[in-house]
């Protein structure tokens, strides 16, 4: 009886662990930020396309659902995986390029939020690359706490604002 309850939980935990370890890796190194140590921390971004940006009229921002994050976290929750797979399949099957925009809630300082939003966008980008999408097709941008999806304070608004949105270049 006990094992029946425990097994799916253990599997889910194992999946979550593997998943966050792959795409996140945060808090693992603790290297203190120096250049010593030859570990790669991300996949370099491709050159920008001229005249194309996340806010441009040639970008479809509503084709895919946003990926949501926990407070102060860049880890991809297991429940968000399906959204990422959808986008990965789309990228693999066509010639479109993608801009991922990262956002935060309002509870950090502005410059840290810009970094955190970028880190979220890059975490989603790494997950797409892991799922087989072409890295050279994916740009990122962070708006930090600007352009909230929901206004006002409180966890219900904040939860909607901690997100990465997908902009498909038409």
């Amino acid at each position: 009886m006990k094992t029946h309850h425990f097994l799916p939980l253990a599997l889910a935990a194992l999946f979550a662990l593997t998943f966050t370890a792959c795409v996140n890796g945060k808090k693992k190194t603790g290297g203190g930020g120096g250049v010593e140590g030859d570990f790669v921390t991300g996949t370099p971004l491709p050159e920008r396309q001229e005249g194309v940006s996340f806010l441009g009229s040639n970008v479809d921002r509503s084709k895919f659902r946003p990926v949501y994050f926990s407070f102060d976290s860049v880890a991809l929750d297991g429940g968000e995986r399906g959204k990422i797979d959808e986008v990965a399949d789309f990228l693999k099957s066509g010639a479109n390029t993608l801009i991922i925009a990262g956002f935060t809630d309002e509870r950090g300082t502005p410059e840290y939020n810009r970094g955190l939003g970028e880190r979220r966008a890059q975490a989603v980008r790494e997950a797409l690359i892991s799922a087989g999408a072409d890295a050279s097709k994916i740009q990122t941008v962070s708006f930090g706490a600007e352009m909230p999806a929901a206004s006002g304070g409180g966890e219900s608004a904040w939860a909607k604002n901690r997100r990465a949105e997908f902009g498909v270049v038409r």
Binding site: K26, K27, G33
Partner: protein
């Protein structure tokens, strides 16, 4: 309550720097009211003499070094003639001896600010901050735009008008140029504005997010956060944005770098170990070493011009506080609620944002003055030196 205090003291002593260094330097000098110099503004004549006297009085009071008293009881009497673009100023001591006599030129306010700083320097040996600029982000227009003003909060001028997102301004130490993060292209790029001419150019536009640019003390380099290599990392570039050189290699978020006065080191925030902590790294490359503060969320460090301390933002509960950490040891102390502190040229005053106010704090006496308000929400202030 007592227990809480004891605990925070303990926490501070644990997280403070090397204990060997403690006590090597006197961290603060307390100036009581009687320690202030008694000065009088005597005869300040000329076409705009009366206006100049008012500006000067405010500048001298803001410096924290003076009591303005009637001439009869003053140790020093200030006089001069002000008109057009010049102000001929003088200071005489009680014996009638002239200790300062100099002509200043500039705008109606600028020439007075320059005189005020010269008075501070002559009589106290410290650098004044009256003739410096502050800049900040304000939301009054419905968009975040960059504004600039004199350090006393007068002459507020809107620098950007993009109806977009313009944030993260940093003045050059000489106050002549300003860099900021702008979203005009739809991406976060670093722009530079020449304050004299208003000329603007986009100087850093790598793929990803380019932000957090901050001038070195000699104005010849920038520290900046770039994500082009797949993660936000700390870099240095030339003042023009060229020659990007990567300093960190982490899986976390680096942000808000600040330079040591000699330009040899940077302190920045990184959440590589979980929550944002402060690290110190040689600006030419090396290893980032933790600067313990005893707080779990530390961002927006700003190194004082005398090199002895940093001010930074901590998050506690639902709000932000301004903290000061003596780099020689002694632990961080919270000095006000607010965010984004920046030291003035005197290493004594701070400006910071608190909701809709830009506040000047005398870190020695704790006296607070609102220098700008009425521009919507204010954030990310910067101060020239």
């Amino acid at each position: 309550m007592k227990k809480l205090h004891a605990f925070s003291l303990l926490a501070i002593s644990i997280f403070a720097g090397p204990p060997l260094l403690r006590g090597a330097d006197t961290p603060t000098i307390t100036i009581s009211k009687s320690d202030k110099l008694a000065v009088a503004i005597g005869n300040l004549g000329g076409a705009d003499g009366a206006q100049a006297a008012k500006i000067l009085q405010n500048d001298l009071a803001m410096s924290g070094y003076f009591n303005l008293v009637p001439a009869a009881s003053a140790g020093f009497v200030i006089g001069g003639t002000s008109g057009g673009a010049s102000l001929a100023g003088s200071v005489t001591d009680r014996a009638g001896k002239t200790v300062l006599s100099q002509t200043f030129s500039g705008t109606a306010r600028g020439k007075v600010h320059a005189f005020a700083d010269e008075i501070v320097e002559t009589l106290t040996g410290s650098k004044g901050f009256a003739n410096t600029k502050v800049a900040f982000v304000a939301s009054r227009s419905g968009h975040k735009e960059i504004y600039v003003a004199d350090a006393d909060g007068s002459g507020v001028q809107q620098l950007t008008n993009d109806a977009n997102i313009s944030v993260g301004p940093r003045l050059s130490p000489d106050g002549r140029t300003l860099v900021y993060t702008g979203y005009k292209s739809g991406y976060a790029d670093v722009y530079e504005i020449e304050l004299g001419s208003g000329a603007r150019s986009r100087i850093i536009k790598f793929p990803g997010t380019n932000t957090g640019a901050s001038y070195s003390p000699d104005g010849r380099q920038l520290a900046v956060i770039l994500s082009k290599d797949g993660n936000p990392e700390l870099y240095t570039t030339s003042a023009g944005g060229g020659g990007a050189r990567r300093l960190t290699r982490t899986t976390g978020v680096e942000s808000t770098p600040t330079w040591s006065p000699d330009g040899g080191e940077l302190i920045y925030s990184s959440d590589d170990r979980g929550t944002p902590q402060l690290y110190r790294i040689p600006s030419g490359g090396g290893t980032g070493r933790l600067v313990g503060t005893g707080h779990s969320y530390n961002t927006e460090p700003n190194w004082s011009p005398d090199g002895k301390k940093i001010a930074f933002t901590v998050r506690s509960g639902g709000g932000f506080s301004v903290a000061i950490l003596d780099l020689a040891g002694g632990g961080a102390r919270i000095v006000a609620s607010g965010e984004g502190p920046a030291w003035g040229a005197d290493s004594r005053h701070l400006i910071f944002a608190d909701g809709g106010a830009l506040i000047l704090l005398d870190a020695q006496t704790g006296q607070k003055t609102t220098v700008v308000s009425g521009f919507g929400k204010i954030s990310e202030p910067t101060w020239s030196r």
